[in-house]
Subunit: 611 residues, 2 copies
């Protein structure tokens, strides 16, 4: 029998929660340990304690380091304890033990300042091996301190990786962040969390959706897993719910893409009787109020900076500029017209002056940049110049005066110059700017720069001349531009869509929705030429008293990864998910997906097409 | 343009949250209303306000009642406001309006005490019709005050049903309950919420699981939607996470069953280094600490009552007895041996004396009880007797002395007597007891009686003589009984499983799990004769240092329905779900599931079997 349970009722105030520092009583309640391994200190000396955990280290069969989710502590085999000695002698690393003993302060020379519990040890009275691990684990927990889950082997033994302090930290970081978001939305902003279905109907357009064949009595018909609760949240607004949110599982079948998961999580919300300013202000509060306390020094303050889509493209060449540096794109067509080969009016030369970047741009970086840019459809010729090294421009320009005088380049700066078709030059420079930022030390600066990008176009024109929604077909035009849907050029319409960008990464987006059924039908039918059959339920709902409404969705996995990386995108999304899929969509740990059984195929009335 | 946004930061303390009373500033923040319809009172008189909502009523084209999620208020068209008059004249019910005006106190004779805002009205300055509803709605919002979502039409227009106060109340009640559970688990018990995958692998045994055909590069292989996060939560324990919970979506393909949903929600949790007492104490705290304040008078106090499975079956004939009444099964075989027709040793007669039930047992009820019991495989003959009416026993017994003297029956009591094979008599009486409780006024008593049922058998023997897990194959035997798995009679083993019963309904269950790989393999292979291939990942995980662990899952939908019904099971599960499926598994609103497109079939490499 496993001993008595410590049951302690503790009252918590918001203040103690916000410190993210659970008390010992909380963490040990309902268990048969008295303390976690990480909490023992000098003031516990003399206390009889029980700790449980994994054997991390065994020195001389007398000193056993035990680890749990909260830290490490050393247990000591006292003299003359034959049976304990024998047990310790045979113990394998990562075996699970339950140790009871007395906390004693170590002699000064034996204190270990590297260990937070290093002033003490537990003199063992009872040493129970609860579960024995094999002598060798399939994945070592000791060699790497960093989590690296690239290999299939690590994904297969994900639960071993989860024992590492960093993974433990990430899961707790994520849980705390989401809990603070929930507290803000529920308690301070009166939102109601509503769960919406995931066995849904196919949605036209957008990413491919996973299907779920229905069983009896619906054989031959399929559900679809939703890409987002978009339609349901709009229907909740029609239902008068007013202020909705959900931490929602979403599904997208995107095949093999690095750092994309087939299932992912959004913090999804919607409210009625609001407008763009309202949603933006709400999200700013959500971000600031849920900010992790352990990174208080990076907490942003509202309002965040804003930029129009047009300015973002003009100044940064991307719709999600990284403003940790202020390097902007400038036009230098007049100065570099000598590079213009043919008489093509649609030509320009533009530059980004990257202050202080010269030393970071190794020839290896230059080569890699050439290669990456060369892979793009839109790639235009470009040159990376510094005052010391300017091979290309020696030919094009008589001397360095251009760089020095026109661009005000200093020895430590670099200029990236690109020329060709303006739209493609912008995109090329946008991508080069990202590569420049990656090459320089910016990613280590621990900066968090939030930015709203607004005034997106409502529609884009595809290469086949079709108009498509820049975001989704439910987005409303800017106030005053509704008429342009019917009697203007749709391409000139600005959308009430807003993206939230953090350090060059889109962490969320939202819009004010069309709440008028006739307008929504017109957009689907006459502008997008979509088959509206799949959306008749939504169109009918809009016709039965839909309030104006708008909302937002935070891409939670990416946001957590960025935050945990202190603004840097080096933490892959799969590291902030407890059980991620591989880039091939496999759950390597439990070997899913698997071949269906005949029974399953019969039950769902399907068969496989032989390939 | 829709006006300025009210942005107010409000600080909330736990105390104000617990009162579930969001402030006006919170509810109106980020919108262009100044007040909700429900909050205006006399002290607002003289204030200029903007309210938004649905037109609920229009009297004489001068008095317009506007409704939002928070209540109703009357708006008044002042004299001489021609354009407002015209707009009001044309307004249809359920149209959405935005009204700006001045709050005025009504003359005493015009005050409406039935309306919480009935002391005031809003004298309209501006009346904007934001969206026009048709003159007739497909489902009336006015006729029924009760929510009744039986008909397909109501499910189709679910968003109209959601506008009703009761549905609004249910969704908020549910959200508040879950939020309090999260706060308790996170802040007071140090649990970490972790999201686990729903694109999973098939699990052997149990209910049928929905399948999700995988796309490229996995065509021909299927994911399964999990029945619960059972395996993942055990793997988290192996991963050292220690204290996990999740409000988890679960899936079961059960075909058409009344009041069962193909997707449902569990509050799922697991912790390491615990035992049965620990988990039971935790769940008691969870229930008490998250108890809705609006029903404080029904709050249970820990510890809850406990009963063994054997006693539950013996005294109540069910494994989830409803203890709102103390009617127990008693043996009266000796007194009624005259009913025993053949020389069958395996015979008994038993009775439930239902105190005070006589008046509730109409002949209609008796007929219905006969019909329902008759439908069971296990049905045994039974008789419902009162002192006044005892037709059967007039023949069997000489007079009423038996009822009066042996059973101590009073005029107002009823006795239900059943005879035959003991196990079947128990089950029949168990079911009759439930019918008796339904027939009497017990369901209106607003009582909440929690009960732990413990000491279940670990295995049941099927009719084909196979042993199956009484709950699931991961359940551990009672402490000290582990050896019986190997060298005893498995049917005699008690499980460390515990069910939480509320008023005769199972609202959750849990167990201590097997944490030893060899034992788990033995149970799967040698006792259950299951193919353990599908569980190799779990078996391997158990072998690599698994801590002892156990947990629980609350069936959230059922629990919310019971709580919202104040202990009575009259609120169907589908009413506590925003967008439920019909009993045929249809999302009637958006018409899912649907026939797949050819594109979908090709994408997933499947075809339909012609039926």
């Amino acid at each position: 029998m496993l001993g008595r349970i410590t049951l302690q009722r503790c009252s918590t105030t918001l203040a103690t929660f916000v410190r993210c520092c659970p008390s010992s009583a909380q963490t040990n309640s309902f268990t048969y340990r008295t303390h976690t391994c990480g909490e023992l200190r000098r003031h516990h000396a003399g206390e009889k304690v029980t700790v449980c955990g994994w054997v991390e280290f065994n020195r001389l069969n007398r000193f056993v380091v035990i680890r749990d989710a909260y830290g490490h502590v050393q247990a000591f085999v006292p003299d003359g304890q034959e049976s304990i000695s024998a047990a310790v002698k045979n113990i394998t690393y990562e075996s699970v033990v339950k140790v009871t003993g007395t906390v004693t302060e170590r002699a000064d020379k034996h204190k270990n300042p590297k260990m937070v519990t290093g002033d003490v040890q537990v003199d063992i009275d009872s040493f129970e091996v609860v579960n024995t691990a094999p002598a060798t684990l399939p994945v070592s927990l000791r060699k790497e301190t960093e989590v690296s889950s690239d290999s299939a082997l690590r994904l297969k033994y994900r639960y071993l990786d989860l024992r590492k302090p960093q993974m433990q930290q990430i899961l707790r970081f994520r849980a705390n962040l989401v809990h603070k978001m929930r507290r803000y939305l529920t308690e301070e902003a009166s939102f109601v969390e509503v769960e919406t279905p995931t066995l849904f109907r196919r949605t036209p357009g957008g990413a491919a959706e996973f299907v779920v064949p229905a069983g009896k009595p619906n054989i031959g018909r399929f559900y679809s897993l939703p890409q987002s609760p978009q339609q349901f949240k709009q229907l909740l607004m029609v239902g008068g719910l007013d202020r909705y949110f959900q931490v929602a599982r979403c599904y997208r079948d995107e095949g093999s893409k690095l750092d994309r998961q087939p299932e992912f999580t959004q913090v999804d919300l919607e409210l009625s009787f609001t407008n763009q300013e309202g949603v933006i202000a709400l999200i700013e509060q959500l971000v600031c109020q849920s900010w992790p306390d352990e990174m208080a020094e990076l907490r942003p303050s509202a309002p965040f900076e804003r930029m129009t889509y047009a300015d973002a493209m003009r100044l940064y060449g991307v719709d999600k500029p990284d403003l940790r540096v202020n390097w902007q794109i400038e036009d230098i067509s007049a100065s570099l017209s000598s590079l213009k080969k043919e008489s093509n009016d649609d030509w320009c030369a533009r530059v980004i002056v990257a202050k202080g970047a010269a030393k970071s741009l190794s020839s290896k970086w230059r080569k890699e940049a050439k290669r990456l840019i060369g892979m793009n459809k839109f790639a235009q010729p470009f040159a990376v110049c510094t005052l010391k090294e300017d091979p290309l421009f020696k030919a094009a320009l008589s001397n360095q005066d251009f760089l020095r005088e026109k661009l005000n380049l200093q020895d430590e700066d670099a200029a990236v110059i690109c020329w060709g078709t303006p739209a493609d030059v912008q995109k090329t420079l946008g991508q080069l700017r990202t590569l420049l930022i990656e090459a320089t030390g910016v990613r280590n600066q621990k900066k968090m720069v939030f930015l709203w990008v607004v005034d997106f176009p409502l529609f884009d024109r595809e290469e086949d001349d079709r108009l498509v929604s820049a975001h989704h077909p439910f987005t409303a035009p800017a106030p005053g531009q509704e008429r342009l849907l019917f009697d203007g050029n749709p391409e000139e319409i600005t959308a009430q869509h807003y993206d939230l960008v953090l350090n060059g990464v889109e962490v969320g987006g939202g819009s004010i929705r069309i709440h008028d059924a006739a307008t929504q039908r017109h957009v689907l039918k006459n502008i997008l030429r979509e088959d509206s059959t799949e959306l008749e339920h939504l169109l009918e709902a809009l016709s039965l008293g839909a309030p104006p409404h708008g909302g937002f969705a935070v891409g939670l996995d990416r946001y957590v990864a960025l935050l945990f990386g202190r603004g840097d995108s080096s933490v892959p999304i799969r590291d902030v998910i407890a059980f991620p899929k591989s880039k091939e969509g496999h759950d390597v740990m439990c070997a899913a997906p698997t071949a269906p059984t005949d029974e399953q195929l019969v039950r769902y009335g399907i068969r496989l097409i032989e390939s």
